[in-house]
Symmetry: C2
Subunit: 284 residues, 2 copies
């Protein structure tokens, strides 16, 4: 990635935006930052994550940058692009970190000026924590980075986004359409979070904490979530997530029916299927 002559701008210095800024600065890139919070800005400057930054009146930074990462939640991202996208220079590459894609990618591509290319991507490296003070804890080295190109993207834009993922150190980089991404994420991430949240909300189980072992703790670890961000992710992907909840609920109902009927062979059959499918996962 020979782009040391480029100027990077990270908009939104949260957990992921902050981490991108930290890594890119450490690799010698010129990184500017925009955040609404004066404390966050000061933290980023104090830790050398950015060379300069602003909390407002930042159109001059937009005109300087030619490599932009939007580290914002989907709703904020759309309104930000609507208001400030026009200040970006032609030739600029832009990506994001959103965990949902359909509602974001094409609208943002339509809003940006001619010559500014938005190559959407999703770094699958969430954590229970949020905010720049935790960003050094984020690990990309075991994580997936998904690029979601559309017909509006160029080979050069996609190659830039892939090179960014390599610089950030992601374990696996792949491409999916925005629709395929959202179906995938509805199952492998959002459904799991919906289940963990429901398990904790189902009853006040605090008196059972002393009896919980690994299985319960593993299953509910992700029930500690950032409420604002996850409401965004769920609502922007609600059709897929509703489908997944219904599929899962059907399987759970099936298990319950076998239990009610005392159908030992039927239960054992489900257990063998789940065991075989899960074993295949461990081989990948």
């Amino acid at each position: 990635m020979k782009q040391h002559d480029h100027t990077w701008l990270i908009v939104g210095l949260g957990l992921l935006g902050g981490r991108y800024a930290q890594i890119l600065s450490a690799r010698g890139y010129t990184v500017l930052g925009i955040t609404r919070s004066a404390d966050t800005l000061q933290y980023a400057l104090d830790h050398g994550y950015i060379a300069a930054g602003k909390t407002g009146d930042f159109t001059d930074l937009l005109e300087k940058a030619d490599r932009v990462v939007l580290g914002l939640y989907p709703t904020t991202l759309l309104s930000w692009v609507r208001e400030y996208g026009r200040y970006l220079r032609p030739g600029t590459f832009v990506t994001d970190v959103c965990g949902v894609k359909r509602g974001v990618v094409e609208p943002v591509q339509a809003l940006l000026p001619a010559g500014v290319e938005f190559i959407a991507s999703h770094p699958m490296a969430g954590r229970e924590t949020s905010g720049i003070a935790h960003c050094a804890e984020v690990r990309f080295t075991d994580a997936n980075f998904i690029i979601t190109p559309t017909p509006a993207n160029t080979p050069a834009g996609i190659a830039w986004c892939r090179a960014l993922a390599e610089t950030l150190g992601f374990a696996r980089i792949s491409e999916l359409s925005p629709a395929a991404h959202d179906r995938m994420i509805g199952y492998v991430s959002q459904l799991c979070h919906a289940i963990a949240v429901s398990l904790m909300c189902a009853s006040d189980n605090s008196e059972l904490a002393m009896y919980t072992g690994d299985s319960f703790r593993d299953l509910t670890r992700i029930a500690r979530i950032n409420d604002k961000m996850w409401a965004e992710l769920f609502l922007w992907n609600k059709d897929n997530l509703i489908d997944e909840i219904e599929l899962f609920s059907g399987a759970l109902q099936d298990l319950k029916d076998r239990l009610v009927a005392g159908d030992r062979a039927g239960l054992e059959e489900m257990f063998r299927l789940s065991t075989a499918r899960r074993a295949a996962f461990d081989e990948t």
Copy 2:
């Protein structure tokens, strides 16, 4: 535990029975073993887990032992006690390793001869594996050991069972009634397994394996289960497990309803509740 003058008998040399035999022999106790499998018996003898053992015609071993662990699944355990319990000597203490208690404890106590005391217990240290060849992998040092006494038990019997758990190295030893144990286990263990199994059975997700991160893998790790044992556990506790599945399904339905309605504030409220409850778990 000054019981080196006692003779232990482990009936069923599976994952847990094998582990008990291994630890007790290593501590210098005289341990005998009974198993249906000639291979298992040979393995246990070869590895020094037992001093002697048999696969049949074992009434002489029953007459020698005065400390007995029944390492059998509930249904097998009941039929074993019905057939062989009469050979145990008065003064003998007996325990088990079953993961369900109501259907086991009082029937076994009623079947045993006068003077033979059954103090039921549940070592909460399951694994995905089974069989004596894996027993050395079982770790008791982080695990709960639950004793489920009834009015038929004596202080001496309960103290023996507690001392056994200490010898085995369990992290926490506690007492619950059989009914309270089964309610607890329906929630903290069986419901989690029902969820993990249903998640794997809901759809053929093998093409998504490459995208799964920690959350999906943590949630489904326990979907690899021993089909025979878990059918036993589920069926012996079906009333509690059905209640828990219904409570959980209600919470998931509630989440889905909020999603369908686009109720952002309602979703955020659930996320804050799950986060607060789960955070409290991490403090225990």
